[in-house]
């Protein structure tokens, strides 16, 4: 029994249909716990007032925006090396989720920045990096839409994802070099002295776990849809041939 068995679409459909209700339930419970805990049962920050509550959506969304791209990179590589269709379909399924997470991070950041920094938008390295990440998601999805042949589309988008990852990283460092920003450092790194205090950290961890589970649920659902779409296409083609 190896992990590659899940690359078989039939096996994937069976396993995911069994796992999906559990993952969905867990996602709803964890997300609600994290957000309700954060929203109703945490104190205000002495400097930021109640705006600190935005952290429970802003940070997890930003984390998922990046992790989603990392996941797409891995699954694209698996497609290029081992030619497993489920892998590349998972990448396709994840992209809109990652793009939405990027948008959430940008919007909540803008809304948060308005009272804190006195501006909706600044060309701060982190904000700029996320805007660039959004452009990469946009290009990746547009390429999927533009190519008719599914295998060519999978190859082209996977190559784009690899090259895009390198350039996204480059942009990150270029942008850091270009402008020093307003944004605070990492909120949750384990050895950081600027660690947020435990009162905020525990609900934040919960909320992050909730976002991970939500992402997993949506990707499973969407990958199942993509597999069905692919099978439908194959059946229609076979019918036309007959």
């Amino acid at each position: 029994m190896s992990i590659w068995e899940y690359a078989n679409p039939k096996k994937f459909m069976e396993t995911s249909s069994w796992a999906l209700p559990w993952v969905t339930g867990l996602a709803v419970v964890t997300l609600l716990t994290g957000l309700v805990w954060g929203f109703f049962f945490t104190p205000d920050d002495y400097r930021q007032g109640s705006t600190v509550k935005i952290i429970y959506i802003h940070v997890p969304a930003a984390m998922m925006a990046i992790n989603c791209w990392a996941m797409m990179l891995v699954t694209s590589l698996i497609w290029l090396v081992r030619r497993h269709h489920v892998s590349v379909l998972a990448a396709k399924a994840a992209a809109p989720v990652g793009m939405t997470m990027t948008l959430i991070a940008l919007f909540t950041g803008a809304i948060w920045g308005q009272p804190m920094w006195g501006t909706w938008w600044a060309w701060d390295p982190r904000l700029t990096s996320f805007l660039i990440l959004f452009l990469f998601y946009l290009g990746y999805l547009a390429l999927w839409e533009a190519v008719d042949d599914p295998d060519s589309a999978a190859d082209l988008t996977s190559v784009l994802c690899l090259v895009g990852s390198v350039f996204a990283l480059l942009s990150r460092y270029a942008v850091l070099f270009w402008n020093q920003g307003l944004h605070q450092g990492a909120s949750l790194s384990l050895d950081s002295k600027e660690h947020v205090s435990d009162v905020f950290a525990y609900p934040l961890w919960t909320s992050m776990a909730g976002f991970v589970l939500l992402f997993l649920t949506l990707v499973l659902l969407r990958t199942r849809t993509e597999i069905r779409a692919r099978r439908l296409r194959a059946l229609e083609a076979r019918e036309r041939m007959a």
Binding site: F39, F40, D44, G49, S50, T51, K53, I54, I57, H58, A61, P96, V97, T100, L103, I104, F107, T108, I111, W112, Q114, P115, L214, L218, L221, R222, R224, T225, R228, A229, R231, L232, L235, E236, R238, E239
Partner: protein, 51 residues
């Protein structure tokens, strides 16, 4: 209700935007999933009938 103080609009706005975006994503996912499932089932039935 917790007191949000003078930043109530900010906090509620951020949560509202998030919920709106997530709702759009979830609804789009579910709708496309249902459409694909139905179309695939119809296609499989038709092909089973005609051999």
């Amino acid at each position: 209700m917790v007191g949000l103080g003078k930043y109530a609009a900010t906090v509620l706005g951020a949560y509202a935007v998030t919920i709106l975006l997530l709702a759009v994503l979830v609804i789009a996912t579910l709708r496309r999933g249902r459409v694909m499932r139905e179309r695939l089932e119809a296609q499989e039935r038709r092909m089973a009938r005609h051999g």
